[in-house]
Structures are given as C-alpha cells and as structure tokens.
Symmetry: C2
Subunit: 256 residues, 2 copies
C-alpha cells in the first residue's frame, strides 16, 4: 500500500520563517501530519509582499503542481510606517500595492487551476491567507530601542492600528479572490493575554506559536475538510499491518 | 542572488518520526537551517531495518540525486527480543541481518556515488548513521504493562544490554563502510540523567529531543564541515541587502 504524501508550503515573512523554532506552528503542522504530508518552509524574514513577488518564479515554478496546502502570511513588514529614519520604513508597502501584491501571489500559488490536471484535482488545492497579528507597540518600541541608532524616543515604526489596516486589506483580498482567510489579528486581539504571546511585541513566544498552530489547524479543518489529518492516509502501512512472513506483499512497487 | 537549498533526509523509525514533536531534533534542525536546507521527514514508527528495505525504492529513487545529508537511524525495533508473546517480537531482526540491512540501506542512500554527477559532487553527500539509544527497562516495562495484554510480570521485550549489541553492530557497519556514526547509545549512557530524557523508557522527552539535536549538530559539524550552518548560503538575499529602488536587481532569474 502506498499513498502519495501531501505537500504543504508555508510562504511568508519571519512569522513563517521562525515557525520551526521552539513550539513552532510549522513544526507542529509537520508533527501532526507525520507520514502524511511534507511541510516545506518558505519563510523570508523581513520580506514584504513587494520583495516576495521576486520569489514567486522560484518558489512556485509553473511546471510544478501546486501544493496541497499553501499558507500565505505577509503584511507584518508591509505595515511598517513610511517616512521614518532608520531601516524599517524601507520595508513599507502602501496599502493598495499590498493588496495588488497579494492578488498576484494568490494567483501564482493557484497557478495551475486552469491547467490540464485531472478534473477536480485543482479544487483540492487549498490556499489559506493569514493576516498579520497585532503589534504590541510598547514592547516593540522597547525592542527597537535596544538596537544601534535605537532610542525610546523614536516614533514607533509599527502600531496596533496601522497593522490593522493591513489585516483588513488581506481579508478584503481573500473575499474578492475566494480565498479562505485566517484573521490572526482578530484571533489574537480577542485573547486577553495576547501581548504575552509575543516575545518582542511582534514575533511569537512558544505559547504564541502554539496559539497560531491551533488557529491554523482549526481553519484548515473548517475550510479544507479533505485535509483533516484523520482523513489523510499514511504513505505506507502501519508497522502492525505488515505481513511478517512476506513483508514485500504489504508494499506496492513504486510508481513507474 | 540565489543559492540552491540543501536537502536533508531523516530516515528511521519512531525516534525519527517523532522528531518534529515538541522540541524535536528534526524540527530544531529545520529551524537551524531555515532558508538554507529543507528537512524531509522519513521516519516510520515501529519499522525495523527489514521493513525499511521495502521503502528504499520509494524514498531514495535511483533518478534522484542523493540528499546533501541523510541520517539513518534504525535498530530500536530490530532489538526487540525474539520469541516472546505479544506484538513486539515480530519486530525483532537478528543481529547479522540487521547489519546486512544497514549495509543495503547505506549503499542505496549513497547510490549515485558512481554516477555521472559533477566530479566531487558526491563526496559532499553526507550520511550519518545513528545508533539506537539505551532502553530504560523499568520505565519501558511499566509502559508496556499499561497496554492490552500487558502485565508487569511479562518478560521485558527490550533491554539495556540487548540494544547495546545493535548499537555496537551499527558502529561496526559504519567503520566497515566508511560512514560516520553518531553513537547515541554511548552519548546517552554517559549522561547521569539519561533515564529522565526518555518519556517511556524508549522515546525522547522534549529535553531528550534537545540532547539528540545537540549530538546530531556536533557530529555534523565535526564530520561534515561543509554543512556547518554558518558556511551554507541563504537561498535568497537577506532583506537588508535588497535594493530598495530596484528589487529585481537583487534576484537572479530562476535557473532554466
């Protein structure tokens, strides 16, 4: 018996790149789908959607069938406030361009929808758009002040309210393109302890990672029932099902 | 700028399959090599080397260039004591066959060494053989007794001494085939607290996972200096190196 493994691609900025750090949501996804899916980490720390466009041809090549699940998780860097001194404002992307870029990314990720794959195959390609989480400005200010040229008197380069606009914009693009959205901004702000889930006001603590994982799995189970872990076959037989006397009979030959 | 990502394959039994669980050594490896390597989980819970042979054609197809690093980590199930009632003895593989199977696995994993890859390319394909860790018999007995048909009076299906023979056999095969070996059995037994690193006498606690990771990284750094994390390029430029005015100029076009 052999079932093809599913392939999940996690595409995003540092909130994705760090998803295999302690208690990381990406690692937890790989653990949950052990023997069922390969989780491919495509997180790019510091990247905004403008720079992410440069990665598309490499990361989602035209000749490759889209992943069974792709998470698209950008916005935390686009939402840097423009016009400030220092390194952050260069990451800023205006709201309209952010939405355009997300549209391009989503189109590319779903690229083969009109291709000659078996009928229905593309309906099963799941894409989950994730909004940036809220920023704890006080903690983030403190963090930034600890760097070279940092000072607690510098104006904040990210704020709770400014990032909210990017979360809302992602939701709009999701609706417009028929892409399920995990509104992590809303999810976090509803938790009384949300500030404790961020280690520096922006990135996740181990507890924050666990919260992201729970939210991702809940969204997957609800939006893409065919990907529910219980419904996905393991790639090879459980060891208890292997014929002890004739192991080979429990395995089909590899596909030609 | 673009560098190909390295590819690491972790091949083994449950001690590998669970390597993305909390603080897992596989997840930590992926975290360490974020943007540098893709870590591919090929752990098969309950499998011994005899059954692992059935996976080789699928997991290491002839037409695919060997991974940049492959860990081969079997023996914990082969070392089940034969001839006992219950499900465990069926996993037993005699010591001589265990060594033969390891030889076949290592040969397959290094399969393309004589192929027409660019000169030197295969010298850089790293294979790390990992010995099974020691068994804490009291804890494992207690664990097994909690299952159906289990009883504290059943004879132990694994022992500290019996598994040692398999660890020693793996070391022999490593020497004979010129494959670097991480002797996890010796590593653990040297730690006064080693029993606390196993959650059921056999599998790793989160602290045990961290210890395995430290040992794997130390072995990699020593045996395969070209894979040292600091020496591997990121796949795309650091965000700080992207030309703000002309982002495309910071990225080479994808390979044809």
């Amino acid at each position: 018996m052999e079932a093809r493994r599913l392939r999940f691609v996690l595409f995003g900025d540092s909130l994705t790149q760090k998803s295999f750090d302690e208690c990381g949501w990406g690692a937890a996804l790989q653990s949950t789908y052990q023997r069922k899916a390969d989780v491919c980490l495509r997180g790019y720390s510091g990247y905004n959607t403008r720079w992410a466009l440069q990665l598309l041809a490499h990361t989602f090549p035209e000749e490759v069938v889209p992943a069974d699940l792709t998470t698209v998780f950008f916005g935390a860097n686009d939402a840097n406030i423009p016009g400030l001194a220092g390194d952050h404002s260069r990451q800023h992307v205006p709201l309209g361009e952010y939405k355009d870029n997300l549209r391009v990314i989503l189109k590319r990720v779903k690229q083969n929808e009109a291709s000659d794959l078996p009928a229905g195959a593309n309906n099963l390609k799941a894409v989950l758009l994730i909004t940036p989480p809220p920023v704890d400005v006080d903690a983030w200010q403190k963090h930034c002040a600890s760097f070279k040229d940092g000072s607690p008197d510098n104006p904040p380069n990210r704020t709770f309210e400014y990032t909210k606009q990017y979360a809302d914009a992602a939701i709009e693009v999701g609706k417009e393109t028929g892409t399920p959205v995990l509104d992590l901004y809303a999810h976090f702000t509803k938790l009384p302890e949300w500030k404790t889930l961020l280690c520096d006001g922006l990135h996740f603590t181990p507890e924050g990672q666990k919260e992201v994982f729970k939210a991702v799995i809940r969204a997957m189970n609800s939006e893409f029932p065919h990907l529910q872990q219980e419904r996905v076959d393991m790639d090879f037989p459980d060891h208890k099902a292997i014929d002890e006397k004739d192991p080979a009979s429990s395995f089909l030959p590899p596909s030609p």
